[in-house]
């Protein structure tokens, strides 16, 4: 008898939790939508645009590297290539004005096309070797951007065509464009995590040989998600280029970009959905603030390095998993002897979670 009632109670608790989550998401969505109306200053929206660009890219990075454990330091290859693709196409095909936004699918396609041979080579090796191969490919692309003068503009880089938007609305428009990119990237990440491929990627992360033994076609799964992640990153790179109106070899293919992504994912929680988003929202504005405040860049570099160390040494598993564990510890306080599988324990542990998600 008690099983029936507690099962019903658990079900209602789950429904309430879902309702709370939906309400939370709605509040977030409204907050994100009205943000530029509340803070119309271009200084503030500039921070927001950069933060959203990084939310999108780090989610794309995380859907491959976070889920599979293959830490890539070559994401800037796709970001820079997307930026250059838009720049070169706009110049060669004489596309001006808002028409350049039609080139964004091209940026995504370029990212995906580059990811295929890149992945076929790099995904054959694991761990350290994979990381170093991604660094090598990254440098090949940066050097190509420097050296293929007639194609990429060499050290001068590429300039974006002029957008006929007034300076007062320029940032706001880009805010909504980057918001759409960020939401799109997060949705794709959620879909992958819930899909069969997401499970297979996590199986690969835990033990690739065993996963293959159990019938996971590892190369195919890894490559598919790698290419998808590259396509999103390429597209966002195109948007970033149009916002900044310029790309240089060292800004499009920036080694700090890759490390920032890893740091954001680690700070928030590698392989979770919300972790990298939180990481990006904390680190990117912070980094931008430091660069603007200390223009010589040296002090900001030292501070950034110190921040790296603090995060890795004190929150090694990231904010989201650590906070989750703290919550679970809080919930189980007072019910230490109850085995976690039984219904009353679940019910008891649901209450603080519901409060936390509000």
């Amino acid at each position: 008898m008690s099983t029936v009632t507690s099962a019903a109670r658990v079900r209602s608790a789950v429904t309430r939790r879902r309702a709370a989550a939906t309400a939370g998401l709605l509040v977030l969505a409204v907050a994100a939508l009205v943000f530029p109306l509340v803070f119309p200053s271009p200084v503030v929206t500039n921070y927001a645009v950069y933060a959203l660009i990084f939310v999108a890219v780090v989610s794309a990075w995380n859907m491959f590297s976070g889920f599979s454990g293959y830490i890539s330091l070559g994401q800037a290859v796709f970001f820079g290539s997307g930026a250059y693709a838009v720049g070169i196409a706009a110049k060669d095909w004489h596309i001006t004005g808002t028409g350049v936004f039609a080139l964004l699918p091209l940026a995504a396609a370029v990212g995906a096309v580059i990811a295929v041979p890149f992945g076929l080579v790099a995904l054959r090796v694991r761990r350290h070797t994979f990381i170093v191969v991604t660094i090598a490919v990254f440098f090949i692309f940066q050097l190509m951007a420097f050296n293929l003068n007639s194609f990429t503009g060499g050290t001068i880089g590429m300039s974006a065509p002029f957008l006929p938007w007034s300076p007062t609305t320029f940032n706001d428009r880009f805010y909504y464009i980057t918001l759409a990119c960020a939401v799109g990237a997060v949705v794709v990440a959620v879909l992958i995590r819930r899909s069969r491929s997401g499970l297979q990627l996590r199986a690969i992360r835990d033990d690739e040989d065993r996963a293959r033994g159990l019938g996971v076609r590892a190369m195919r799964v890894k490559l598919t998600v790698f290419v998808l992640s590259a396509a999103i990153t390429g597209l966002v790179g195109g948007v970033w280029f149009l916002y900044l109106t310029q790309v240089l070899p060292q800004s499009g293919f920036d080694p700090l970009f890759d490390l920032s992504l890893v740091l954001m994912a680690f700070l928030g929680g590698l392989g979770t959905i919300s972790g990298p988003i939180i990481g990006a929202l904390i680190i990117e504005p912070g980094q931008l603030y430091l660069t603007i405040k200390y223009t010589n860049g040296y002090l900001s570099e030292i501070l950034l390095g110190a921040l790296f160390l603090v995060i890795v040494l004190f929150v090694p598993r990231g904010i989201v998993p650590t906070a989750g564990e703290q919550l679970r510890r809080l919930r189980s306080r007072g019910h230490p002897a109850v085995p976690p599988a039984t219904a009353p324990a679940q019910e008891a542990s649901d209450t603080p979670a519901r409060e936390a998600s509000r």
Partner: protein, 292 residues
């Protein structure tokens, strides 16, 4: 033309010797601690700046100054290992050590900028500018001396690894850390000293690099990416592989430079990619570890 090619090969071998020294430090650290020390590049630059300060402030000869800078870099290496790397454990250790060593690199780079500024410096001595005509080749004294120094230091590391009790502990730890621990080897001490030795060679590497190239605090990135390519090509953790790969890569780069200096470095990385397609473990690599 033929003369040019021979000269390029000789240059490549001489410079390769110096890179071998830096790469051996890196691959040794990988072999024992299972980490990639991203800070190795900027530590080389730190070594170069130490030599620079000794030379300009105290007028100490570059090679003589190594008697001070090598122990100093050893202490810095042990300190980095003790303060940051020792603590890292768990599944994401690979990427966390990468972040930590990168953070160390950023901090050192920032401090070097604060002290020395961004303008490129170069080390100077009477033998840096002059060269000798030997067997039909023009050989710069600094390259000859540097090559000799690199050979001596590599021989010293070899002797340390293969002729001493400590070296036996290091090799045992490289083969299997758990078993080494079980037979009573103090793995933590081995790790600390190995990291120290791996970093100490950057003092010599940095002095050579600073004498043959203009450098600023930012030069470390170019260097670390080359060193990483070299140790992967040689096979991670393989000392012989690091030597072979350094000479091979630098000779290749030196040859391509005859035709196109801009593309030489691209060929460098492309060679890495091509070799890995054919042989994912590099020239002398062990079989990949089973678990991720």
């Amino acid at each position: 033309m033929a003369q040019e090619i021979y000269q390029a090969i000789v240059d490549g071998i001489l410079v390769g010797g110096v890179y071998a020294l830096m790469a051996v430090g890196l691959t040794l650290i990988f072999g024992v601690l299972d980490i990639i020390n991203i800070a190795q590049g900027v530590l080389v630059i730190l070594g170069a700046y130490l030599s620079y300060s000794l030379e300009t402030r105290l007028h100490v000869d570059l090679f003589l100054g190594l008697l001070i800078t090598v122990p100093a870099m050893f202490v810095i290496g042990v300190a980095i290992q003790w303060a940051f790397i020792r603590r890292l454990r768990g599944r994401e250790r690979t990427s966390m050590t990468l972040l930590v060593t990168y953070a160390v690199a950023l901090i050192i780079e920032g401090i070097l900028y604060e002290i020395y500024g961004p303008n490129p410096k170069q080390l100077n001595a009477s033998y840096v500018q002059s060269s000798v005509h030997l067997f039909g080749f023009y050989l710069s004294y600094i390259y000859l001396y540097g090559f000799a120094l690199a050979l001596v230091l590599i021989a010293a590391i070899y002797a340390l690894l293969y002729r001493t009790g400590f070296g036996r502990s290091v090799r045992a730890t490289m083969q299997d850390e758990t078993s080494a621990r079980l037979i009573g080897i103090d793995v933590n001490r081995v790790a600390a000293v190995t990291f120290g030795v791996g970093v100490a060679v950057t003092a010599a590497g940095g002095m050579m690099f600073g004498a043959t190239n203009a450098f600023n605090p930012n030069s470390g990135y170019d260097l670390i990416s080359r060193l990483l390519a070299i140790i992967i090509l040689g096979g991670l953790g393989s000392i012989g592989g690091a030597l072979a790969a350094s000479v091979f890569m630098l000779t290749l780069e030196s040859l391509v430079t005859i035709w196109s200096p801009e593309w030489a470095i691209v060929v460098f990385y492309a060679a890495l990619v091509v070799v890995l397609v054919i042989r994912p473990t590099g020239f002398f690599g062990r079989q990949p570890v089973r678990a991720q």
